[in-house]
């Protein structure tokens, strides 16, 4: 059934367009467009120096309801996590993406940390951000063997670990970084762009946070204002 329907649909499209299959030359030009993807118009505010982008990211992320905490050095991650749990009266345990092993999160005795895939009972989940977009205050999270995508959705409290150097201007910059990491035209199974905590306005247009995904999105931003280039990958 499927192949027939495919042939039928493609034939109908061509008939409607008043042509046969595209000539080879036209196909080649479309293939070139795909092989060398060019950004379209990128808003001016996404094209600033890195310091300005970091400030813009923080402003935009807070505007959509995320909280941002800056630390100079990843050694402080454990203390940061312990503070967060205490501040929100949460139980002293959390689950973290295995990619964060050895990141400094373990540097606390106040929190029981598990590295792995989140379960329904986990209240706090921690994942590394691949990049973040200053233009809109958006995190870009990728999935993989040591980063479960469910970490971004299942636990009520979502903590994202972001390196200052990974803040970029626009979504297009994230795509460029992905091509560098995975090769052209290839993606991780799941790429999540996240702008603030989960929300809904489906009841009388009242905005309520924590619809299905996390109620809280806390971004821990590591860096002391100096750009470093070690986080490529």
């Amino acid at each position: 059934m499927s192949t027939d329907a495919k042939t039928l649909i493609l034939q109908r499209i061509r008939r409607s367009m008043g042509r046969g299959p595209l000539p080879e030359e036209a196909k080649l030009s479309l293939q070139r467009r795909l092989a060398d993807p060019r950004p379209n118009l990128i808003p001016a505010r996404a094209r600033a120096d890195h310091g300005a982008l970091v400030r813009l990211f923080i402003e935009k992320a807070e505007a959509v309801g995320a909280t941002v905490e800056r630390i100079g050095d990843s050694d402080r991650l454990g203390a940061c996590l312990a503070d967060f749990l205490k501040r929100h009266n949460l139980p002293g345990h959390a689950v973290a993406a295995p990619a964060l092993q050895g990141s400094g999160l373990e540097n606390t005795e106040l929190v029981t940390l598990r590295f792995g895939v989140p379960e329904a009972s986990d209240q706090t989940g921690i994942a590394p951000a691949f990049r973040a977009i200053a233009e809109t205050g958006t995190l870009a999270m990728i999935s993989g063997p040591d980063i479960p995508a469910t970490m971004n959705f299942l636990p009520d409290n979502h903590i994202a670990i972001l390196h200052e150097a990974d803040i970029v201007g626009a979504m297009e910059d994230v795509f460029a970084a992905l091509r560098k990491k995975y090769g052209s035209a290839t993606m991780p199974r799941t790429l999540n762009f996240i702008s603030g905590p989960s929300r809904t306005a489906d009841i009388e247009q009242k905005i309520v946070e924590g619809a299905h995904g996390p109620r809280r999105l806390h971004i821990v931003l590591i860096g002391n204002g100096q750009k470093n280039a070690e986080t490529d990958g």
């Binding site: 059934m1 499927s2 329907a5 649909i9 493609l10 109908r12 499209i13 061509r14 409607s16 367009m17 595209l22 479309l30 467009r33 795909l34 993807p37 060019r38 379209n40 118009l41 001016a44 959509v64 993406a97 295995p98 329904a120 809109t136 958006t138 999935s143 993989g144 063997p145 479960p148 995508a149 469910t150 971004n152 959705f153 299942l154 626009a170 979504m171 297009e172 795509f175 035209a185 993606m187 199974r189 799941t190 790429l191 999540n192 762009f193 996240i194 989960s198 929300r199 809904t200 306005a201 489906d202 009841i203 009388e204 247009q205 009242k206 309520v208 924590g210 619809a211 299905h212 995904g213």
Partner: protein, 481 residues
């Protein structure tokens, strides 16, 4: 769903008397339109982005066969499957067969207009697979057993009190017996109930806002995160999408995303924008082991090259209905099918035929706001006018209407007669309006005067005023306002 578009007049009458609906629609107008205006004003490049977004979609539609084949090839190279379906029936059967292949008993669903278009839920239920809507709005109307009344806010017609009653009635079986008064509590209860459903579901079905030809990715845009739990937790992720959702590259997707959320809810970005590419990879920590895309045609392959092909640029943001005075007055259900508002009035006649939908192109004041706010610059009023003309020339409009139009045409083509007629009519309207300056009742125009008075014309008609002005001021009349 069984269309009721032929009953538009009756549907609209009923809607106008519905107090709850009146309150709900006021919120649509106030909420969505203000938010969109603010978001558009805050981005200097917004209008230029709309142009680019339109051009991208035009380019896709010109080369639709190429991009679809490329998208399908990329999906399959990465371990997914693409199912091409010419008709809604084929799409339903395909989805059911996929569900059965993993012995699915329950299916969670993200919001999908295509699933509504093919009436998927009743079909699955009849065949022993329980569909569970997870978008809060869709969940509410599933409990109420109603169709969506808005493209992005399916339950905008419901008040909080109505939602509270629905939850009380349907959540008893989960041991929840308290009627909740606050929106926060209602959301929390739905969240709790649906959590278990995600975890138990065998298949997750989502729609797609975009299909990326470059990478074979499908993209969904949500605020709740329901679409993500829906696709990540079960054994199989099925994406149901129509042909025109394909875009060339990731960069093209980014451009359209910049106008989508701003036009829809006034957000710069929706909370979650998710790119899903194939099934879970070898060694991946989680994600669906099976990935299928059901590509629906349902006549689009014939719409694409036609004079109404521009409708296929639509990205389903809902801006046209949010800004439509008719939608704001009657709500989405009056339109009688899946797509309401101006886009529905333009699209539904294509899907259902003009016999069924002949009222819809008339459900417009031609104020042009829909075209003004459409991020893809679809000429909706032009297309509605086209349907009206077609209804007239194909004798679909009823005799009274056709005679009325003919009479008007005869009058309008004879200037002297027209002027004489309007003078008499204006005089008569003023005469009968009395001291109040308004008419309570008019023969043949009960539809207008039942709900309100008709204000009497204040003075002579335009042509007489124009003449008088020309006499007074010579040729200066053109620019003084």
């Amino acid at each position: 769903m069984q269309p009721t578009s032929h009953d538009f007049t009756a549907n609209a009458h009923k809607a106008l008397q519905d107090e709850n609906l009146r309150k709900a629609l006021k919120r649509v107008e106030a909420g969505f339109t203000t938010a969109r205006a603010r978001a558009a004003a805050a981005l200097p490049e917004f209008e230029a982005l709309r142009d680019q977004a339109r051009d991208i979609k035009n380019h896709v539609l010109e080369n639709l066969d190429f991009y679809l084949e490329r998208f399908a090839a990329r999906v399959e190279e990465q371990g997914g499957r693409v199912h091409w379906c010419a008709t809604p029936a084929e799409a339903r059967e395909t989805i059911l067969a996929l569900c059965r292949s993993v012995d699915a008993r329950t299916v969670t669903k993200g919001k999908s207009m295509i699933a509504e278009e093919i009436a998927l839920n009743p079909f699955l239920a009849e065949n022993g697979v329980e569909p569970i809507e997870t978008d809060l709005g869709e969940y509410i109307i599933q409990l109420a057993d109603e169709p969506p009344s808005h493209i992005i806010g399916p339950a905008v017609h419901k008040t909080q009190d109505q939602v509270a009653d629905l939850f009380l009635e349907h959540h008893r079986r989960y041991g929840k017996n308290k009627r909740l008064e606050e929106a926060e509590d209602l959301v929390a209860e739905a969240r709790e109930v649906l959590r278990d459903k995600y975890l138990a579901a065998d298949v997750g079905i989502t729609g797609a806002n975009f299909l990326v030809a470059e990478t074979g990715s499908t993209v969904i845009v949500t605020n709740e995160g329901n679409g993500d739990l829906t696709q990540l937790l079960p054994k199989m992720h099925i994406v149901v999408a129509s042909l025109e959702k394909v875009v060339p590259t990731l960069e093209d997707t980014a451009t359209i995303l910049r106008v989508l959320a701003r036009s829809a809810t006034g957000q710069e970005m929706s909370v979650y924008t998710t790119f899903s590419t194939g099934p879970r990879r070898q060694g991946d920590a989680d994600g669906p082991p099976r990935f299928h895309v059901v590509l629906l045609d349902n006549g689009r392959s014939e719409l694409v090259g036609s004079d109404k092909g521009e409708l296929l640029r639509c990205i389903r943001c809902g801006a046209c209905m949010n800004h439509c005075p008719v939608y704001q007055a009657v709500g989405g259900h009056a339109y009688g099918w899946v797509y309401p508002g101006p886009i529905g009035a333009a699209l539904d006649p294509y899907f259902l035929g003009l016999e069924e939908t002949r009222h819809l192109p008339n459900a417009s004041t031609f104020c042009g706001r829909c075209e003004e706010v459409c991020p893809m610059r679809i000429p909706l009023p032009r297309i509605l006018r086209h349907w009206r003309e077609r209804a007239f020339s194909h004798h679909i409009a009823p005799p009274a209407e056709r005679w009325g139009v003919k009479l008007w045409a005869a009058l309008a083509a004879r200037p002297a007669l027209y002027r004489a007629f309007t003078r008499v009519a204006l005089w008569a309207l003023r005469l009968f309006s009395g001291r109040k300056g308004a008419l309570r009742r008019l023969p043949f125009l009960g539809g207008w005067t039942d709900g309100r008075d008709l204000p009497a014309p204040a003075g002579p008609g335009f042509i007489d005023q124009w003449r008088a002005r020309q006499k007074r001021g010579g040729t200066s009349g053109e620019h003084d306002g």
